[in-house]
Amino acid sequence: MSTAPAIELKGISKAFGPVQANKDISICVMPGTIHGIIGENGAGKSTLMSILYGFYKADSGDIFISGKKTEIPDSQAAISVGIGMVFQHFKLVQNFTVLENIILGAEEGRLLRPSLSKARGVLKSLAEEYELSVDPDALVENLSVGHQQRVEILKALYRQAEILILDEPTGVLTPAEADHLFRILEGLRAQGKTIVLITHKLREIMEITDTVSVMRRGEMTATVRTSETSPDKLAELMVGRKVLLRVDKKPATPGANVLEIENLHEFGENGVERLKGVSLNVRAGEILGIAGVAGNGQSELLEVLGGYADATGTVRMNGVPLDLAGRNSNGQSRRARGIGHVPEDRQHEGLIMDYAAWENAVFGYHRDPAWQSGILMNNAAIRADASGKMDRFDVRPPNPKLAARNFSGGNQQKIVLAREIERNPDLLLIGQPTRGVDIGAIEFIHQQIIALRDAGKAILLVSVELDEIFALSDRIAVMFDGHIMGFRDPSETNERELGLMMAGITGEAAA
């Protein structure tokens, strides 16, 4: 008897209004394998998995679990047929213990104690079986991100999941934590569990999956054996054309210091110190890349330099100190000093999503006298300028009247980049330039950043993607827990060394 596939989807279609998120998708995942689903943002990966987990109902198509046709109207139904999901953003109660989180929604009876003690036993055996050790009595808020993710996996296993879906699981992990996660997944596979891994990172697909399906614009373009493909082929399938995965760039010719930071301290709203004495410098004509796991002070560094978080210490721009608090410390005064800023979160900071593209094209520079005529704003001039910017940065569709939220992530980012780069800043701060951006646009965005460097500007790049840090940086600084762990030359370091530094192990100890 041949085994039935663990998951089989036949002809799944789903539309959100005029947007066809999934078009006639068929997929077959065999039990005991790791199946990767790869595709650009907006390709429909998450929609497909949400249908499988009962969040959305497909417009048409059938779901078969272990060979049986199954209706999944809600997530309870998904759990009962053995599907577990680990979301990109964890769904844990922060002030509950690990144990309490695990039984949440799976309590057996009105009293908690029996469920808790049963869970404790199960947890212990799971921990031994799969290298999934977590202190059951620790509060979730005190756990590292990697451990929180383990709690999510344990939650699914506790509910007897046979099929585990992981949505972008490594986005928040250090390379070492990601390696550990992959060992866990391999252990699960060895036990006959089926794993679906959703990701946009080609490297992970190549490293761990058995088969891989590629999605593009709502369609499944290919399903191949991982051993029979290559990253270049997959990228081509994702984008629909040949893609340069490496950016060409000449060696940097750095000039004088543009930005000098000495002993920078920043305290968050609740008094938590998030920058603990950062010192660094960026020279004209170089890209300083700041590597680190999200949440180690990179965002705060950008906020301080961008003028919207107060700090103490010294920051000099072209040799002249900047105010780090008070009336003259804001986005306007920073821009006046020649600092451009492409923020990490373009949807909540860089753009007003309900503003038309042309209104966004001057956002932050809207007080420039060029855009005023008397007491009114010169909207005609702004629109004309926006048209030109969108043309030069290949923003599609090239319609300045369209609201920002109607552009794809990559095109939104191009609007922000066009605005900041065309002001010709002496220093450009860039946070996560290609987060949520499709591969095709990544190439273009990287080229623009390098062109700005070649024009002799200083660039401070923050990214959680090590590949991006390596591709762009002329020097790399690693941040951990509000400190700079050290500087490295990209040609003389490797991911392993940076990974250790990102986990707080100093360069000397790592070497």
Partner: protein, 374 residues
């Protein structure tokens, strides 16, 4: 892509809401044994078919334009100013002081000064909640609504103890001097042969309200301040990134909002009562919320919604006068309109969006694949 065309959003949604409200009102009128058709024709007759009816409708509409604009401006900065009532009361005080204590040679000068006085007092009354919101994070909804009560108490005190003429029994100021009497529509449009707007309180401040609509439109969509107010309203994090001061925008938007609400007093206090009385605002500050919601915070929408509510007010008064429909029921009808156009907006919008999506999809996406699947 937008879910439905702009015209549907601006016209169809309020229209359907209005029809639903009218339908329910008809049921209510039926239930107490009166004829809804008769009631409706009486309302139209009384509010729209005679020039004096229009005179009342536009008088009420003037109030609602000011308060509706006030709420709209605050909405654009994502603040909910429920304090229009109190701000309008204090605006009345500003008007009274200007009219009583300065000898004016001509009403036009007095009107300009009274407008400034009304706006200043209204704005200052909004300043305290705005400051508390900006600096202390006290929620503007809570503070503005509490300031309504404080305004009423303060005004009561001032009228009874300070401004009441010797010997007078009611809490009101003395009558304003003749020189500051505003020309009514009757004065302006009547000819000897054909009297118009007879006895109606609509007056020249209606035109100030229309000017205010234009000014607010310019402010919100054509000036840098409006750009910043809308930016802050859409996303305070993005505003922070751009260097727009949240404190400044909160305070300035609320000052403008309070000023507009205060200006309502030139219509009621200077144009109609010609003295400052208690409860001159008669809930117009709250109606302004419904007007702003129905008008989508756009001055043109506010203008139209204000006239609609003016019609409801005047038509309701006619009903109370000529039928056995009790006064309370008219309040119910007004409440139904507010409920459907304001609070239950999404109830109409969502199905309508679905209809438009279905309409848009049906012609082109019947792809061969789907046909085969059927």
């Amino acid at each position: 892509m937008d879910k439905m065309p702009a015209w549907a959003d601006a016209v169809l949604v309020p229209l359907i809401s209005l029809l639903l409200a009218a339908f329910l009102s008809a049921l209510v009128i039926l239930a107490i044994g009166e004829s809804p058709v008769e009631a409706f024709s009486l309302m139209v007759e009384g509010a729209l078919m005679r020039s004096s009816g229009w005179g009342y409708t536009l008088y009420y509409a003037t109030n609602f334009m000011f308060t509706g604009l006030a709420v709209s401006v605050a909405f654009h900065a994502r603040m909910f100013n429920i304090g229009g009532e109190g701000q309008a009361m204090l605006g009345g005080l500003g008007v009274a002081l200007v009219c009583l204590y300065i000898p004016w040679p001509h009403w036009s000068l007095a009107l300009m000064a009274a407008s400034v006085g009304a706006a200043t007092f209204g704005a200052l009354w909004a300043l305290i909640p705005a400051y508390l919101q900006a600096k202390r994070g006290s929620h503007i909804v809570i503070t503005t609504i509490m300031f309504n009560f404080i305004a009423a108490a303060l005004l009561n005190y001032i009228l009874v103890n300070l401004l009441r003429p010797m010997g007078a029994m009611d809490p009101a100021t003395a009558r304003f001097p003749e020189a500051v009497t505003l020309p009514t529509f009757q004065d302006m449009f009547s000819t000897a042969a054909e009297p118009m707007f007879r006895g109606a309180p609509a007056n020249v401040s209606f035109f100030i309200a229309v000017l205010a609509c234009v000014a607010v439109w310019l402010l919100i969509w054509r000036t840098r301040l409006g750009y910043e107010i809308r930016a802050f309203g859409h996303s305070d994090t993005a505003a922070r990134y751009a260097g727009i001061s949240p404190v400044k925008i909160t305070v300035v938007a609320m000052l403008i909002s309070g000023g507009l609400a205060g200006m309502m007093a030139i219509n009621v206090t200077m144009g109609e009562a010609e003295r400052l009385i208690m409860n001159a605002t008669e809930g117009a500050g709250f109606i302004g919320i419904a007007v702003a919601l129905m008008g989508r915070s756009h001055p043109l929408g506010v203008f139209l919604a204000a006239i609609l509510f003016g019609f409801l007010y005047q038509g309701g008064a006619e009903l109370a006068l000529w039928t056995n429909i009790p006064r309370e029921l008219i309040v119910v009808i007004q409440a139904l309109v507010i409920l459907f156009t304001g609070a239950l907006d999404n109830m109409v919008r969502m199905p309508l969006e679905r209809v438009f999506l279905a309409l848009r999809r049906s012609p082109k996406t019947t792809s061969p694949v789907q046909k085969a699947a059927e």
